[in-house]
C-alpha cells in the first residue's frame, strides 16, 4: 500500500510528492504513480500493452529511487510509454541496493491523454528515505 500527495512544501516553480508506503517496493511504485499523476492528472485506467524488464542498481535507496523514476521518464520521452502495472522487488546486492522485475506500460495517445505538465527530471533536493515503525516515507521534488 502507498499514498502520495502532490506538494509544494519545498518548491516555488516546481512540484514535489509526499510519499508513504508499507514497503520500499510500494514507496517506489507510489513514486511512479505520483509522478505520472503530475504529468496527466488522474490517469486513465487501461491494461498494460507491453512489459519491460527492469534491473537497476545503486549505492543507496535515494539514488535507486532517482534512477527508477528517471528510467520511467526516459521511456515516456523516447518510446511514449506510460507505466500502468508493476511487479518489482528491491533487495541488497553486494553492498548496493537493486530493483528488479517488470513494468507494464500502455502507449501514450496524444489525442486522449491530456498532459498537464512535462516533468523534466527527478531531483535529489530534500530527498531522504526514512522508515519509522511502520512506514517508509520520503519527499521527491521534480523539475518542471
Amino acid at each position: 500500500m502507498y499514498k502520495f500527495e502532490i506538494s509544494d512544501r519545498y518548491t516555488t516553480a516546481d512540484v514535489g510528492l509526499e510519499l508513504e508506503a508499507d514497503s520500499l517496493e510500494d514507496l517506489f511504485i507510489g513514486g511512479a504513480v505520483g509522478m505520472f499523476a503530475i504529468v496527466f492528472g488522474v490517469s486513465q485506467k487501461k491494461p498494460a500493452a507491453v512489459w519491460k524488464e527492469f534491473e537497476l542498481r545503486a549505492f543507496n535507496p535515494e539514488q535507486l529511487l532517482v534512477d527508477w523514476l528517471s528510467e520511467l521518464l526516459y521511456l515516456f520521452d523516447t518510446e511514449k510509454l506510460i507505466p500502468v502495472a508493476y511487479e518489482v522487488s528491491i533487495g541488497a546486492r553486494d553492498g548496493d541496493i537493486s530493483l528488479s522485475g517488470s513494468v507494464g506500460f500502455r502507449p501514450f495517445n496524444r489525442n486522449v491523454d491530456q498532459a498537464e505538465h512535462e516533468v523534466k527530471a527527478v531531483t535529489y533536493y530534500k530527498l531522504i528515505i526514512k522508515k519509522d515503525d511502520r512506514l517508509f516515507r520520503c519527499h521527491v521534488v521534480f523539475d518542471l
Binding site: 516546481d14 504529468v39 528517471s70 512535462e118 527530471a121 535529489y124 523539475d143 518542471l144
Partner: protein, 482 residues
C-alpha cells in the same frame, strides 16, 4: 532567519560564518520593495552555494530570485577554473534555457486583422506541450554535428541567417562541445525534439511596444526597436529532453564520485566535480553540447516563425523585417575572465536563471551593438510581456557580468491553480486583448501573472543597481504555451 545586512542601496549580504562552511558571503541584489518578499529557502540555498569549493567573491542572488533545487533560481556563482568546481545543479536540468527576441517591421495595426490565423499557424508549426516532436529529422551522425556546432549547423542547413548567428550569445556555438561525453540516452531523448517549445513556463509570444514603454530610445533604435506599436516575437525554451538527460546522467556520476574527489555537499542537488577532473571536463563537454542544441532549437523555431509569418502575410520574411535582436542563455556555465583580488582570473561562471550582462566594448558583444552593450532579454509572466535591457560595465566589474532573467515566481504552482481556473484566466486575458493558445489549461492557471513578482519592480531594481539598463518593455498580444 540568517543575519542579512544591508551594505548599500539595493545590496544585502549574509556574512561568512552565518552558516558553517561558507567560503564567501552570500550577496542578495534586490530593492527595498522586493527584499521583504524573499523566500527563506532562497537564503538557505544561496548560503549552501557559498560553501562550494573554489567559489569567488560571493554567491549571488538576482532580484528575481526564488527557491529552486540546489541553487536558487536567479543564482550566480563563479568558480576558479583551476581549483573550483562545476555543478549541474548550478545550471539546471534545462541546460541553456534562454530567451530570443525577434523584431519585425509590423505594427499592431498591421497584425491585428491577421492575428488569429497567425496564432493558428504558429501553434501548428512550432510544436508545444508534452510528448511532441519537431519537424527536423536527423540521424545520429547529423545530431552529433548539431550538438557540436549549434547555430552554425542551422546556417548550413538554411535555418539561420548570418545576422541570426551574429546576434546569438557566442554565435550560438559554445566551444568545447564533445558528443563523446553525451550518453546514448540523451541522444535518444533529444534527437526528435529539435524545433519544439516544450511545456511549463516555455512560450512563444507576439508582443508590441506600447506608448510610454520606450526608456532608452538610442539603445532601442540600435537594437531595432523604432516605433510605438512595433511587433516583436519572444521565444523562451531550452535544450528539452537532451539537456535534462545530460544533467541527470552527470548528477549521478558526481554524486557517486564525490568521495573520490574529496567533496561533501550540504545539499545532494549541489553535487559537483573539480573543473579540471575527468568528470568535470566530461560534464562541461556534454553541457556545451546541450547548450548548442538549445541555440539550434531556438534557431529552428525562428525559422518556423518566419515561415508562419510569410504564409499568413504572403510576403517574404526579410521584407517583414524579422530579424533576431539577440538570443541569450539563462541556464549555463561559461568560462570568462574577471579581476578578483586585483588579479585577472579565468572563472567558470554558473548562471541558473540569470543572464549575461556584458557592457560596451566587450568583445563578446555582437559588432553591431559593441559600443552600446549586449542586449539582455528578460521574460515576464504571460500577462506582462518581456523586457529588453542593455548590459553594463558595472555588472562585469562587480557581478561576473550577470543580471536577472525574468520576473521570478512568488507563488507555487499548487497555490496559483487554487486561485484561478485556466479557462477563466484565458477568458480574462482575451478580454484584455491577449490571446492564449495552450495544450494545458491547468498548466496555464499555474502561469498566471499574480504567481510572479511585478516585472516593473524587478526591472527597476536591476536598473537602479546599474547591472543592466532598461531599454523597453513590451506588452503581450498573443501567447502560445506548451
Amino acid at each position: 532567519m540568517m543575519p542579512m545586512n544591508k551594505i548599500a542601496e539595493g545590496i544585502w549580504e549574509v556574512p561568512v560564518g552565518a552558516k558553517a562552511g561558507m567560503n564567501v558571503p552570500a550577496r542578495i541584489l534586490s530593492s527595498e520593495k522586493l527584499i521583504g518578499g524573499i523566500d527563506e529557502g532562497v537564503i538557505d540555498q544561496i548560503t549552501n552555494v557559498a560553501c562550494l569549493p573554489g567559489i569567488q567573491r560571493y554567491a549571488l542572488c538576482m532580484p528575481d530570485a526564488h527557491r529552486g533545487y540546489g541553487f536558487p533560481i536567479g543564482g550566480v556563482a563563479a568558480f576558479d577554473a583551476e581549483n573550483g568546481v562545476i555543478s549541474p545543479g548550478g545550471i539546471g536540468f534545462d541546460i541553456n534555457c534562454g530567451m530570443r527576441l525577434i523584431r519585425t517591421n509590423l505594427t499592431v495595426d498591421d497584425i491585428k486583422p491577421r492575428l488569429e490565423p497567425l496564432i493558428l499557424e504558429l501553434f501548428r508549426s512550432v510544436p508545444s506541450g508534452v510528448g511532441t516532436t519537431g519537424f527536423v529529422k536527423l540521424d545520429r551522425k547529423e545530431f552529433q554535428r548539431l550538438m557540436t556546432e549549434g547555430s552554425r549547423w542551422c546556417r548550413e542547413n538554411k535555418y539561420a541567417t548570418d545576422t541570426d548567428i551574429e546576434h546569438t550569445e557566442s554565435g550560438g556555438t559554445i566551444p568545447g562541445a564533445d558528443f563523446k561525453a553525451v550518453s546514448d540516452k540523451a541522444v535518444s531523448r533529444g534527437i526528435n525534439q529539435v524545433g519544439t517549445l516544450g511545456s511549463g513556463n516555455h512560450y512563444l509570444e507576439i508582443e508590441y511596444l506600447p506608448a510610454g514603454n520606450l526608456y532608452d530610445p538610442e539603445l532601442a533604435r540600435a537594437y531595432g526597436i523604432e516605433t510605438v506599436g512595433q511587433i516583436i516575437v519572444a521565444v523562451h525554451c531550452g535544450s528539452r529532453g537532451f539537456g535534462h538527460q545530460i544533467a541527470t546522467d552527470y548528477l549521478r556520476i558526481f554524486t557517486q564520485d564525490a568521495r573520490k574527489h574529496g567533496l561533501v555537499f550540504r545539499d545532494p542537488e549541489l553535487a559537483a566535480a573539480p573543473v579540471n577532473s575527468e568528470d568535470g571536463k566530461a560534464y562541461y563537454a556534454a553541457m556545451a553540447c546541450a547548450a548548442n542544441n538549445a541555440f539550434a532549437n531556438r534557431q529552428v523555431i525562428t525559422h518556423r516563425i518566419r515561415q508562419a509569418f510569410e504564409k499568413v502575410f504572403a510576403v517574404p520574411a526579410d521584407r517583414l523585417g524579422l530579424t533576431t535582436i539577440y538570443d541569450v542563455a539563462h541556464n549555463i556555465a561559461r568560462f570568462e575572465n574577471y579581476t578578483v583580488g586585483g588579479q585577472s582570473k579565468r572563472l567558470l561562471v554558473h548562471r541558473k536563471g540569470a543572464t549575461r550582462s556584458f557592457g560596451p566594448g566587450n568583445g563578446e558583444v555582437p559588432a553591431a551593438y559593441r559600443q552600446l552593450g549586449q542586449p539582455v532579454i528578460v521574460g515576464g509572466s504571460m500577462e506582462t510581456g518581456s523586457a529588453l535591457f542593455s548590459g553594463t560595465a558595472l555588472a562585469e566589474q562587480d557581478y561576473f557580468g550577470s543580471t536577472l532573467h525574468g520576473s521570478g515566481r512568488t507563488m507555487s504552482r499548487t497555490k496559483a491553480k487554487m486561485q484561478i481556473r485556466g479557462d477563466k484566466l484565458q477568458r480574462d486575458m482575451a478580454g484584455r486583448g491577449i490571446t492564449v493558445k495552450t495544450k494545458s489549461l491547468r498548466g496555464l492557471a499555474e502561469e498566471a501573472g499574480f504567481a510572479y513578482k511585478d516585472i516593473d519592480d524587478v526591472s527597476q531594481a536591476v536598473h537602479d543597481l546599474g547591472i543592466s539598463r532598461l531599454v523597453a518593455r513590451f506588452h503581450p498580444l498573443a501567447n502560445i504555451k506548451g
